[in-house]
């Protein structure tokens, strides 16, 4: 399927646009101001999980356009296949820094029509592809959840039919065995710790605390890379993530950095 996607992508690639998705060209955005109320740019060396163990510090990549006019499509198979497509080198391994940029080729979608009660989607047309440069942002969420939708709208990026890559680093002073990654996600997602896939979240799902919980893992002494990718159709993308123990209690004895 990955090969098929690439062939399709190459065949349908259209002239590169110097824009990112539907975003209009503007001057440099004040990220702090643009994301006010949802995110604050990182200013401290490290953070701790909040009182309930939620991880709020993340590197977030600007959204990759992947139009979907419905959330019905998010079966297990669809989710795995489409979130396996490699859009940029090191997608499954990179620990980015704030401001790092990646170049992607992604499906074009027209600017959102906010006067319509449903997102405008091309009907019956062959997809078109564009090249775009996307930026990683180091952010602290102002809430226990990470409101990806507002990250996109704040930066004037595609808001529906998008894929968000997120990475953070969990720093442990010693091994912490028998913990579980607990994620709530709107919508489909895949999550990894240290390269091991722990969760595949399919279906037209809402974000609920601890909606899906992984098998037991050990957070090893030192750095642990937590990586997630979230895909949505017409919906308000967001997630929340924490580690819990066998009793559902939050695990908090670690720090969080962006690299």
């Amino acid at each position: 399927m990955k090969i098929l996607n690439r062939i399709l992508l190459a065949a349908l690639l259209v002239t590169a646009f110097a824009v990112t998705g539907s975003a209009q060209k503007k001057g440099k955005i004040d990220v702090g101001e643009a994301l006010k109320g949802y995110f604050t740019p990182v200013t401290t060396p490290s953070a701790s999980p909040d009182a309930k163990g939620f991880i709020r510090r993340w590197m977030i990549l600007e959204p990759i356009s992947k139009p979907n006019s419905t959330n019905r499509v998010f079966t297990d198979t669809y989710t795995r296949e489409n979130l396996s497509v490699e859009y940029f080198p090191g997608q499954f391994t990179v620990i980015p820094k704030d401001g790092d940029k990646v170049k992607v080729t992604m499906e074009y979608q027209p600017p959102v029509n906010l006067t319509s009660n449903r997102p405008a989607q091309p009907q019956g047309e062959q997809p078109k592809f564009v090249k775009a440069t996307l930026t990683w942002h180091a952010l602290d969420s102002d809430h226990f959840f990470v409101k990806l939708f507002r990250f996109a709208t704040g930066l004037d990026k595609d808001r529906y039919g998008v894929i968000f890559w997120t990475v953070t680093v969990i720093n442990c002073e010693e091994d912490i065995p028998n913990v579980r990654l607990a994620v709530g996600s709107n919508k489909a997602a895949r999550w990894w710790v240290n390269g091991e896939e722990l969760l595949l979240l399919a279906g037209d799902r809402h974000m609920g605390v601890d909606s899906a919980v992984s098998d037991r893992i050990t957070l090893k002494k030192g750095k642990n890379v937590l990586r997630g990718v979230t895909m949505n159709g017409p919906g308000m993308s967001e997630f929340c993530a924490r580690f819990i123990d066998d009793h559902g209690n939050p695990v908090r004895n670690y720090t969080i950095t962006c690299n």
Binding site: A182, D246, G248
Partner: protein, 483 residues
């Protein structure tokens, strides 16, 4: 061989036997007591039953003294056994004595086994309004030990026993707390003292009308009031359990608390119509509704939705959602809705099974849609043994042999074929709030007694059972099998 034939016949007929297995023949059983990993109950006569797993019972318990309807309780590291010296009777004299005696163990094979000399704690004369048989005891939360006894011949009488000696407390005056019932006993829960007894006719086989009733009081000495305001001394009593279709005449209540939220009640059925109408030991979940005890039920064989109390999500296979075919129904308007109303077929197993992987498939919780990957057949496996009050079950996707199984990571998934391996066998206990706990018989490479727990809405796992958390609780919603 005959028993195998009976079980096979019952399975084929769709009727599942929920009395205990083995040779559970007993009348007037005492409360069940655990001693060194085995379960014991004593009955009228001189003996009693032993079980190693709580499901299969055989004779072998030893109690001297004869008489009727004993009770037993563990106090510290000793066992106090209490019995009446006669069998009572409605037509003759009623002189009888209640005796207590100690033993360090209930295992007759143990070198420590040996009863102390019995001690008189309560008696009835030939002709008074009391008959000193059918004793029952309760250790209250304050360490006071209460004993009740009596029959239809007059009152239910209560005395206090010294839990250190087994003697009657010096100076204690007997009081009357009930009337006209048998097999009285007490229990305590959440600030309430409960007096239980058995109404109806004893000792009449399939025609015995025995049934168990209860009243309650804030005071251990009563008055014990039923659900409509009658005192037990006025003949009141709220129903706890009555006869069922082929199990007749429950009597002689005993309570067994396994752990918080997991309680069982023991009793006898005067007649089990599937075992020659003989009197047999019965064990049921004890559930509590609005502060009143009721008999629960071991889960019957059937096809169910297995619903997480945490989220309302249903246990399902980790497979692609396959959209059902048929009219979408619309929103109640439009030309399409002018057509005659018809019934739409449900999605069938054969519509989806070819989309499923052939090997191990994970298990998760999802929105319940009545789909084939969410329909579980739950079937007792008689040859696999059981636990206190129930047999082990297999849990398979309806119409298949794909079985729910614990794995070596102490997680849960499904295997394509049920083999009878212990990790594919499940213990299902109804909890005191009416929901259920589901536990694997064993987990490969693990000793922890984990239960099926929804740590996340969508994520069943095996983890410690916690009655205070809905994560640990499940419900079974049955539906008729598809044709």
């Amino acid at each position: 061989m005959k028993r195998i034939i009976i079980i096979a016949a019952l399975l084929l007929s769709g009727v599942i036997m929920f009395a205990q297995t083995g040779a559970p023949f007993i009348h007037d059983p005492s409360s069940i007591v655990e001693c060194d990993g085995k379960y014991y109950t004593f009955g009228t006569g001189s003996g009693g039953l032993i079980s190693e797993d709580g499901w299969s019972w055989h004779s072998g318990a030893v109690r001297p003294g004869g008489g009727a309807a004993p009770d037993a309780i563990k106090i510290g590291d000793r066992y106090l056994v209490i019995y009446g010296t006669t069998g009572g009777g409605m037509g003759g004299g009623h002189a009888s004595k209640i005796m207590t005696m100690w033993n360090k163990t209930l295992d007759p094979e143990s070198p420590d086994f040996g009863y102390s000399d019995p001690v008189l704690v309560l008696e009835s004369l030939v002709d008074e309004d009391f008959n000193a048989i059918d004793p029952g005891v309760l250790m209250g939360p304050d360490g006071r030990l209460w004993l009740t006894a009596g029959t239809y011949f007059g009152h239910i009488r209560q005395v206090e026993i010294d839990p250190k000696t087994g003697f009657r407390v010096e100076g204690n005056e007997a009081i009357d707390v009930g009337r006209n019932m048998e097999a009285s006993t007490m229990m305590y829960r959440d600030g309430w003292y409960y007096l239980l007894g058995t109404h109806g006719t004893c000792c009449d086989g399939v025609n015995a009308t025995y049934n168990i009733v209860v009243g309650r009081s804030r005071n251990p000495q009563g008055p014990f009031i039923d659900n409509v305001g009658r005192s037990m001394i006025e003949g009141g009593g709220k129903s706890v359990i009555t006869s069922e279709r082929r199990l007749i005449g429950p009597g002689h209540f005993g309570r067994f608390v396994e752990e918080e939220g997991v309680e069982k009640m023991s009793f006898h059925w005067e007649a089990d119509m599937d075992q020659s109408g003989r009197s047999v030991l019965g064990i049921r979940p004890l559930i509590w509704k609005d502060g009143w005890p009721e008999a629960g039920e071991a889960l019957k064989e059937g096809t169910y939705e297995i619903k997480s109390v945490r989220s309302g999500y249903a246990l399902e296979l980790e497979v692609d959602f396959v959209r059902a075919q048929g009219a979408q129904g619309g929103m109640g308007r439009g030309a399409g809705n002018q057509q005659p109303v018809v019934s739409i077929e449900e999605q069938k197993l054969e519509d989806v099974i070819d989309t499923w992987p052939k090997g191990v498939i994970g298990a998760r919780n999802g929105y319940y849609m009545g789909r084939p990957w969410q329909r579980w057949s739950i079937i007792p496996v008689p040859e696999a043994g059981g636990y206190l009050g129930g047999p082990y079950y297999k849990i398979v996707i309806a119409g298949t042999n794909r079985a729910l199984a614990a794995n070596e990571k102490a997680e849960v998934d499904t295997v394509p074929e049920f083999t009878g391996a212990p990790e594919q066998l499940w213990r299902i206990d109804q909890l005191t709030d009416g929901t259920y706990r589901i536990m694997p018989k064993s987990i490969p490479g693990h000793d922890e007694p984990y239960a099926l727990v929804s740590l996340g809405d969508c994520s069943p796992t095996l983890a410690p059972f916690d009655f205070s958390s809905d994560n640990s609780k499940w419900e079974f919603k049955g539906f008729a099998p598809l044709k």
